[in-house]
């Protein structure tokens, strides 16, 4: 008995001794890294700055692009049979029946605010680095200008949005800021930081360099009347001219070379979003627009979705001789071997018609309605995620912005020369000064920048400046005139209103 008690005592003693050592709950991290162990080498710091740019990959083809395009007159997503009905959201974008619960409306907000928050993260990180890189001031300026671009899109699409410029902001203090105050914030950021930016180089490819910064400043001033009620035409022309007179960029002789698969050598593109089929996904315009059967036209590896196309009137604004007309796939489609394509499901010939007469039509033939864009050349061997870098700013826009601003400012200057440079490259007849009317300029911008994400912005600016209902007016097919101009900005998305009750819904929209 005594022996047993002794044993029991020993076991208890052992247990009591071991226990404290056995209550450690360390976190062992293997394939990620905790903060104190990171941001040491220059390569690690570079890797930590890159997240500020990653959100941009969503811009050239996804939510932001779709909001800007399908609400304009240059892109329509008709309901073909039941395809692309999708809860009616594409029809709603086209008819301007914008609702806060449309998922693209929330997607756009998320994509943009993701960019802002990543910039804030990088700026905060730069501040807290033990050993800062030699050019940390320039890096900070670059990130601030990039952030200003995100804020510009934020304000352009949603109007009244929160300004959060500090990574450590108390979420309870995030409130809606009026559009003109957001404008002022962006203007301040740009005028302070753009001059500090780096010049054009391979190292700044895909980054916000000085000329990208001036392009953004020009865009901001060009639309100042929309954002604040006060036009800034001269400032817009001056900012655009900074880019032109820098001489760093020239018009790419062949228009479509700006959009080819390997367009990183374009001499015209200023600010791009680099894409790569293997490494950087998200440029999938070829999938959204082409027909299923085009898989064999371009040797894609899966079938495109047969969605986005050009409204008839917009397609008709191109003349046959215009080099830019080559951006459209129209008429009979062929296999890469040259055989005319027939659709297996309908046994109809795959002939893209320029006519989109209805917003919804169950007829089989309607599957082939509308011209499709091959502006960004489809890439053989892909199924979306093409390697064409997405163009945000290019020199042609500096020309067109400067020309428009000069004319609106009342001192046309070299406006005709600039516009004719564009028209010369397109192979269309030169204009005289009599041709330099606002409707003509808007149409020219349409042809030059079709499907580059600027159309909604252009239509609203021209409507505000000239009083013609370019954006809110009647449109074929099936778009009635908007009741008022509340549709100039989109609603604050429902999920955002729920997640932050301090946000205020834009006028004319429900919850």
């Amino acid at each position: 008995m005594k022996k047993n008690l002794l044993k029991a005592f020993l076991v208890l003693l052992m247990t009591a001794t071991l226990l404290p050592a056995c209550t450690k709950l360390d976190k062992n991290v293997y394939n990620q890294v905790i903060e104190p162990n990171f941001f040491k080498t220059p390569a690690q710091i570079a890797a930590a700055l890159a997240p500020a740019y990653n959100p941009l990959t969503q811009f050239p083809a996804n939510n932001v692009f779709q909001l800007n395009e399908v609400s304009s007159d240059e892109m329509i997503v008709p309901t073909r049979g039941n395809d692309w009905y999708d809860g009616g959201k594409w029809q709603a974008l086209w008819t301007h029946a914008f609702r806060p619960d449309i998922d693209n409306v929330n997607g756009g907000w998320s994509d943009i605010s993701n960019g802002i928050t990543k910039c804030n993260f990088v700026l905060n990180l730069l501040n807290t680095l033990q050993t800062k890189p030699a050019n940390s001031d320039q890096i900070a300026a670059e990130i601030k200008v990039l952030r200003a671009f995100y804020f510009f899109e934020f304000m352009d699409i949603y109007g009244n949005v929160p300004i959060v410029s500090d990574y450590n902001t108390d979420p309870a203090k995030v409130v809606t800021v009026p559009r003109k105050d957001v404008y002022a914030f962006i203007e301040g950021e740009l005028t302070t930081n753009v001059p500090l930016l780096a010049d054009k180089s391979d190292a700044t490819y895909g980054h916000m360099n000085k000329w990208g910064g001036y392009m953004l400043l020009a865009k901001l001033y060009l639309n100042a009347q929309v954002y604040t009620g006060t036009a800034q035409w001269t400032k817009a022309a001056d900012a655009a001219d900074m880019v032109i007179k820098s001489g760093k960029y020239s018009l790419q002789p062949n228009f479509l070379d700006n959009f080819i698969v390997n367009n990183e050598n374009s001499v015209e593109n200023i600010f791009v979003v680099p894409f790569d089929n293997i490494n950087i996904p998200n440029n999938s315009i070829e999938m959204y627009t082409l027909n299923y059967n085009n898989i064999s036209t371009y040797n894609l590896t899966s079938q495109p979705y047969n969605g986005f196309c050009a409204p008839t009137a917009f397609y008709r604004s191109f003349t046959a001789t215009d080099a830019r007309t080559k951006m459209w796939a129209i008429g009979q489609q062929y296999s890469s071997a040259g055989a005319p394509l027939t659709d297996p499901a309908t046994q109809l010939k795959v002939i893209f018609s320029p006519y989109v007469k209805e917003l919804s039509n169950p007829a089989d033939s309607f599957k082939f309605a509308g011209a499709r864009s091959i502006k960004y050349a489809p890439q053989a061997g892909t199924a979306g995620n093409t390697s064409n870098d997405g163009v945000i700013f290019r020199l042609a826009d500096a020309y067109m912005m400067k020309a428009e601003a000069e004319i609106r400012a009342g001192s046309p200057g070299d406006a005709l020369t600039l516009v004719n440079a564009i028209r010369t490259r397109a192979g269309v007849p030169l204009w005289t000064s009599a041709d330099l009317t606002m409707p003509n300029l808007l149409a020219e911008r349409g042809r030059e920048f079709a499907w580059e994400g600027w159309r909604r912005n252009d239509l609203i600016r021209f409507e505000v400046a000239d009083g013609i209902k370019y954006f809110t007016g009647l449109r074929n097919p099936a778009k009635p005139q908007d009741a008022d101009t509340h549709t100039f900005i989109f609603p604050v998305p429902s999920p955002q209103l729920i997640s932050n009750p301090k946000l205020v819904q834009n006028p004319g929209y429900g919850q």
């Binding site: 247990t15 394939n31 903060e35 990653n54 692309w84 009616g88 990574y167 108390d170 895909g206 109809l348």
Partner: protein
Amino acid sequence: MKLRNLLKSSCFVLLCFFVLPALAQNKSITGKVTDSKDGSPLPGVSITVKGTSIGTNTDTNGAFTLSVPATASTLVVTYVGYNKQEIAITGAPLTIKLEANATALNEVIVVGVGYGTQRKKDVTGAVSNVASKDFNQGVVINPVSQIQGKVAGLVITQGGGDPNTSATIRLRGQTSISGNQSPLFVVDGIALDDPGQFQNIPPGDIDSYDILKDASATAIYGSRGANGVIIVNTKKGRAGKATVDYNGYAGIEKQSKYYDLLSTSEYKQAISTFSNAATFDKGGNTDWQKAVSRTAHTESNNVAISGGTNGFSYRASVNYQDQQGVILNSDKKQLGLRFNAEQKALDNKLDINVGISNVATTRKTIDYNIFEYIFNSPPTYPVKNADGSYYAFTDFAQANAVSHLERPYNQTYEYLTLINGSVDYSLLPSLKVGVTGSTSRNNVQTHSFYPVFDVENNVNSATDNNYNTNSYKGNIHINYNKSFNKHSVSATAVYEYNDFINSNFGANGQQYLVPENLDNNLGGGNALFNTINSYKEEYKIISFLGRVNYNYDGRFYVTASFRRDGSSKFGANHTWGNFPSVDVAFRLKRDLLNNVDWINDLKLRAGFGIVGNSDAIGPYSSIVLYGPTGKYYDKSNASFPYPNSYAPAQNANPDLRWEERHGKNIGIDFSLFNDRLSGDINYYSDNTKNLLYDYTVPTPPFIYSSIKANVGTLSNKGLEIALTGQAVRGENLNWTVSGQITFSKTRITNLSGTYAGYQLTATQIPLGYAQGRGLSSTPLTYLKPGYSPFEFYLPHYTGVDASGNQLFDGKTVAQYTAAGSSPPSYYIDPSPKFNYGVSNNFTYHSWSLSFFLRGVYGQKIFNNTLLDYETITRLPGNNVTKEALTNGVKDGPVQSDRWLEGASYLRLDNASLGYNFKNVKGFSNFRVYLAGNNLFVITKYRGIDPEVTVADNNQSYIDSSYGGSGYYPKTRSFIIGANITLK
């Protein structure tokens, strides 16, 4: 380190076991056991030599032969439902008459309660148990289907007939809105790392299940108890003459039902009005549903040898199962080995247990896109060309389903190894200390090769993945057991350590020159597209737990338990959590009900407990981690132009803590009318607090738009009734009926709260979406406070207008759109009102017949498959259902309550007819049987089967066949089987 030593010593001890038996000297005794009342032989009675573990069971004639040590003097005879007897060994053949026990049903059943066992009569929580004799008969895809429908409160859903999908298991309703809700499986005392691993335990090795249902019963598992606990006991050997058992079956399975699609002639007729109808005729006559289906072969074999002597017992078994799927090229093969052994030594004070099992499973899996192809492909397309090659065609989501099943290579190998050992020592008769150690290694290897299909323009690709889910666990425990006067006290204290390590390695490539190499030359494709990936993660759980049971004279019981769990998943603020419980029970027979003859036993129970769940939390959710967030382009770096960017991987939440389920349960156990009717009834009301959910938060300032936070509550209420009746108890004929019915109701009560002072709100969160062409961005189900999870919100279909457009509350969608509105929608709860199961067992002489009916009442399923395919506008390029031609609807698919079909059902789940051959020379048991599964199902649901996955993901209650989702058809099966024991 500690564990490794333990394993080493266990192996050494194990070796000794094989030497010891040779040392004994024995004598042989024989005898027969009968019922004292009617003299009928009692099979399966346990005979042991007193004070040892040497023993055997009686055969079907009640006879036994036992080799005992020369010194043995007394036998102990025990049998469920009968009084224990001790019989002196005289040397002459023994005739033993057993008397039926007064409180028969619950008296001697021992159930696992977690970290120990109790006699069923002493259990104070809501605990059910099912022994192997009551298991479902027939083909068993997943071992848990052995008890499907048998246990009140346990809802097991096998959505479809794919041998490679696991069942969803819910104990007492939905318990969480994110993360796994499957109960914790504990096999021979060791918790499985992942409930999914349970489908790799060979069904033939399982002896019984103990299901801990209420929070007071599962609180002993603390932070892993919120979903309930299923304790699985594998078969063990017993000392005595070695026995060899064979259990096996072989049979066939067929698809149980098909959609009513147009046949070739009907299709030709239907499209004849189209001018291009003739172009669709490719000379085929194919029923695509039948083309991909087959009569599948299934077999299961289990051979076990068991025995032992002198304090040593063992059981070793080999299992082989081959289960073909009814869809071409799907298959599951499983080879399992299991060894359990127990050695008692030092006057039975030392008790060593070892268990080792290894299960190798080979799966052939299929591409679920084919379930869409079979609806889209015209029946006029042939499967094969005249030369025997596959007829190739393509269109949007349309391809030759047969070639897409037969040509790709998808093989998965799973190796699950479980090793556990324990050493217990009785320091005092009342005090026992011990240690337990275990390791679980689950290795999953996937191999796939996807070939080039003619006219589809795709490239070939190959992928290999290698996942390891390993864990190391150990505990130190102390058990105390003491009775004095009429008081009995038992207590258990445990320290437990769990370390979980998961890792993965994967590689893939594409554009291989030699497709015959499959995935065996991964580096041989286009090097530009080669990708590799790997990860590794680890977390730990450390626990202190204790339990005290007290009872006074077997009349009044109190149980209290307490567990303190620490997990490395959590932040510093909430690393540790406390999980208490308390139960009380009264058995009234000997007091109040002493004079009530028709009541044999009656126990009232009440319990309360707090249990946790942390499954939705990743190992590092509470801390800031930096990880790769996509590649970026550096044009200035020619040698490495696409480096990775690094950013925080998540919104870290240092305040994360356990979801807590606070459960209350009251229950009654009874045995009536001379034990002819017994059962139990439980009512519970649980509230789960600190629900984990990914809340939308504003970016900026948050770096990601969602954060995992403990916000919200849900409630579960339910009533469970289980009854067993001996309808006929005769000399030759016995008829037992048992059944259960389960009512449960889950409500989301709140989804709002705060994170770090910031208000988090979720008013109506879309969960499930419609699937189909043009149906993107169309939510069907929502999470909404005050409603059941997966509440549908749908327009109300009221018919068609003159031109065949669907009307919703009298108007078409176009009319609503023109008016700037949309059709009004209504909330509809799809969850069942109740689940039930009834089994009947008859024995007549050597015959036995059993059948089991199982059903669900009040459930609704959204038939997304018909929404997509019962649409006349699909013609001529795609096939449709027959109904599409006659229902008068001419427009495209619109989500509405038209497709939310009643899916109540009653299924004849299984039936079997067996015959016992008696007195077969060389065999102590020889039974053969025929069994069938899913012999009929009565339902109004128009899909293949109303049993669809209803709780595993956001698409719950939605039955779709689109874009990679699909319903693998349920099967009907017939088998012939045998249970044989060699003498």
